[in-house]
């Protein structure tokens, strides 16, 4: 629906050109004063935005894409300043305009929407008054008709029951609704240019689509120009006319959207393009051409030949694991591996007391009792599934669907309210979470966490973090043998040996992710739960990490339970997919089935909501 280039707009282009450009940035360099001296966040950037055009600025973290847009609005913080270059907006010299003139311009001629909609609104002022403030400031309304005008705008951004919502505080509205309010604020005075800075990051895909469609519709309707800043090439592809790719403060490529995806010129664009998950590709396709052709992204100087999947991964552990590796479940598994589920979850249920009702001392004292429906919230509502040996299963859904709760229960970190979890023939759901740390099954279920930074103890070196499971459950107590095993694990995950002595804050995001993976596979577990393992990473790093995970799976013969919100990413790694919504399973099947012929309406909605570059 949201075509890459609308022929209608394409036709309009030359005519608009004739009117002149709305925004023209020439040779812009922005400096920041930091403790380490002057840092150039943006170097010699040139860009133009024609009237009615949507420009996408795409880049990974630290590319300078946000700084560029803040500079256009002249809302850089104190430490930043324009070192060189010019910004012309409707013929006005922004770089040298007095602040009073800028103030007049902001909100009326150019406006901005930000990443985190809830944080972008004043928490203790009703949303109606916040929109009213902007209208009145720019003389678009006076105290008599302001409410009427605000409600009119709320209607335009499709807020249901606007009279009521006029009096709502931001905390009373959902994230998607807050973003509509922010859009309403930005569009209130019908500006000529709107800058949207990662407007949908943190929102669910279906909400993202609704918000982006609304923005497109409203800006088209008004003939406004838009700058969309995003890290997501797919999003830029779906909604922009022109795309500008930035890397480390420099523009590497600018081209019409269609062209940049069909025929990217710059190697960085190509790399980014390839790393973006999209339908109909395999994991290898994510890697840059040079690396994809060779079979691995990193050298694997393995001392042992990698064991076959399903055979039990005993060999890799020979370097100093005194324990017999597998429990009963592993023996003779090779023959019947395909039939026996490694993990079987039946009718899993998890209830929580609703927020705000939790154990209030006085209400307990006064014997207040509410209806259990009001006080109890079912995060997981009777779900069942299986994971077979050597299989990868994806657990997909939007935030709050219960996927993380499910994985944490399977991980045996929290106890279910009801239901059965059978792992390798044993009912592990019956073992209380607090005792599971000492259970022999513990070492056979491991996890890779969502945020690589947060999952590493800041006071442990990489090698200490990887060694932790070996010390606790691997029967090792240090020494050369353990060091050897740690080094072996590091090389398996492609972590250079000289980084092993570093602390987490000295490692990059991708390196931290590798440490987390090495720790999870240290004891050759049977099942590894991947909890959005790449959500905090840039796409290019995500591509490498996903490939690494796939490779390790075959080497060690593990099963994965991959928890994610992104169906396309899940598909790359998983054999089967389970789609969850509101604590229940709505659809289950092989990846191909679910992605290519979804049965459930919700799955279809999810799939269509994920923006992706043209295939």
């Amino acid at each position: 629906m949201h075509g890459v280039i609308d022929p209608a707009t394409a036709d309009l282009q030359p005519k608009e050109e004739a009117h002149g450009k709305l925004l023209e940035v020439k040779d812009l360099t922005v400096e920041f004063v930091t403790r380490n001296g002057l840092v150039k966040a943006v170097k010699n950037v040139n860009l133009t935005v024609a009237k009615g055009e949507t420009l996408g600025i795409v880049g990974e973290s630290g590319s300078g894409k946000s700084v560029t847009s803040y500079t256009v609005m002249r809302i850089l913080d104190r430490a930043g300043r324009i070192a060189e270059g010019s910004i012309a907006f409707s013929g006005l010299d922004i770089a040298h305009a007095p602040e009073s003139q800028m103030r007049d311009l902001r909100g009326r001629e150019m406006s901005m929407i930000f990443q985190n909609p809830r944080a972008a609104l004043n928490p203790i002022r009703t949303v109606g008054r916040q929109i009213g403030d902007v209208l009145m400031h720019h003389l678009q309304a006076d105290p008599r008709n302001v409410k009427e005008k605000v409600i009119d705008i709320l209607n335009q951004v499709r807020i249901a029951r606007p009279e009521e919502r006029y009096h709502a505080y931001p905390f009373e509205l959902s994230g998607g609704m807050c973003q509509r309010i922010v859009i309403a604020l930005a569009l209130a005075c019908r500006p000529q240019l709107m800058i949207a800075d990662e407007p949908t990051t943190g929102l669910d895909v279906t909400t993202q689509k609704a918000v982006m469609d609304l923005v497109t519709e409203l800006t088209r309707e008004r003939g406004m120009s838009t700058i969309l800043i995003t890290h997501d090439l797919g999003l830029a592809a779906a909604y922009c006319d022109t795309v500008m790719v930035m890397e480390k403060g420099v523009v590497v490529e600018t081209a019409p959207a269609e062209q940049i995806f069909r025929n990217p010129q710059h190697p960085y664009t190509r790399k980014l393009m390839r790393a973006t998950p999209r339908p109909g590709i395999t994991l290898k396709d994510l890697l840059p051409e040079s690396e994809a052709s060779s079979s691995t992204s990193v050298p694997f100087p393995l001392p042992n030949p990698p064991p076959q999947a399903g055979e039990g991964a005993g060999d890799a552990l020979s370097v100093g694991d005194p324990l017999p590796l597998a429990g009963e479940g592993r023996e003779g598994a090779a023959a019947s591996a395909a039939d026996i589920p490694l993990l079987k979850v039946e009718n899993l249920l998890k209830e929580y007391p609703r927020q705000g009702v939790t154990g209030s001392f006085m209400s307990g004292l006064l014997g207040k009792k509410g209806d259990p429906k009001d006080t109890i919230f079912r995060a997981v509502d009777g779900i069942s599934f299986e994971v077979k040996k050597g299989e990868s299963v994806g657990l997909v859904g939007e935030s709050g669907c219960g996927k993380s709760t499910t994985s944490t229960i399977v991980m045996r970190l929290i106890d279910p309210t009801a239901g059965k979890i059978t792992f390798a023939g044993e009912d592990i759901g019956a073992i209380p979470a607090k005792d599971f740390a000492h259970h022999p099954m513990r070492r056979r279920i491991q996890m890779v966490f969502q945020d690589p930074t947060e999952s590493l103890n800041p006071r442990y070196t990489a090698s200490r973090a990887i060694a932790d499971p070996l010390l606790r459950m691997g029967g090792m107590s240090g020494g050369a043998k353990m060091r050897a095993r740690v080094e072996e694990l590091a090389s398996m995950v492609g972590l250079p040996g000289d980084l092993l002595d570093r602390f987490p804050h000295q490692l990059s995001g991708g390196q931290k992710a590798r440490v987390g993976i090495a720790r999870a596979i240290a004891l050759n577990p049977d099942l590894v739960i991947l909890d959005e393992p790449t959500a905090a990473l840039d796409v290019s790093v995500q591509a490498v990490v996903l490939n690494l995970l796939e490779e390790l799976k075959h080497k060690i013969g593990m099963s994965y339970l991959f928890v994610s919100h992104d169906l396309h990413v899940v598909k790359l790694l998983c054999d089967r997919v389970i789609v969850m919504r509101q604590g229940r399973v709505v659809e289950e099947g092989t990846s191909e089935q679910v992605l290519e012929a979804p049965k459930d309406a919700y799955t279809r909605e999810l799939l269509s909501a994920i923006p992706h570059p043209p295939v």
């Binding site: 902001r106 406006s111 930000f114 990443q115 609104l121 928490p123 400031h137 006085m362």
Partner: protein
Amino acid sequence: MLKLIASRLATAVPSLIGVVIVTFLLTRVLPGDTAAYFAGPAATPQAIAEIRAKLGLDKSMPEQFVDYVSALAKGDLGSSLSTGQPVITEIATRLPASAELTLAGLILALVIAIPFGIAAAVKQGSWVDHSCRIITTAGVSLPVFFTGLLLVYVFYFKLGWAPAPLGRLDAFATAPPDITGFYLIDSLLAGDLETFRASLAQLVIPALTLAIFALAPIARMTRASMLSVLSSEFVRTARAAGLTPYKVIIVYAFRNAMLPVITTLGMVFSFLLGANVLVEKVFAWPGIGSYAVEALITSDFAPVQGFVLAMAILYVLLNLLIDIAYGIIDPRARAEA
């Protein structure tokens, strides 16, 4: 709103119960034999036993606690050994003096600290900011009794601007008719400007002493929370929408920044009520603090315990007010109630 007040009242109840239990325990752990102490050094064992029975000290702890609570309910805090007066009446007559001083100190502190903190945050890195930091760090490092003495030396001995630090009024003036117990207000109500001026002159230096003490945490918190609010995304949104700096700072930033400041006020009150005792001693201020200090010196325990209890109850009530004020400003707190 009523719901908010009710829920806040409910949270104050456990605090009050805790306060009563602690003060009860404090009366029971007095060093040595309490009965022998009350009977005096020359008492016979028989007399001591009699006093023990009279004080109820021969009963079990729970019984004693019930006695204690029922006495409290009747407003009986015991009597002072040295004056023979019931503690409750002494505290009641002296409380307005302490309250007037504390409130004057607090208001002075707020009036100075909040604009100062805002200015320091808005002009971060300027001379206002630097002097704010110096003053707040110095303020928390100055012992309040020492500040008081310094001010007395400068304004009384050196400059002669302030009267002698000897209470609420100098010896020749007469107290205004007792209406609120606050001399400033009562003298104005009585239309007695001379007494108003005299009591104001007496009040300024001790109130300033308290204000210097209370100023530091308030200014520090105002600056910090202003800074964090000013760098928040909704302020950036407001700026991006072109609102004037005045509107952004006052309507958007300041009201949000006040929330942590209001929370800090609880701690400030805790400090102020404690510092009040020291300031009353320095300025011979006839409040409940100096009453307690005099009693302490003569090992007269009933007034000290009465004082501790009164202060604690006062403090719990002040915190209640703070909570309610917070709820009025912050819609989220209202929603939680």
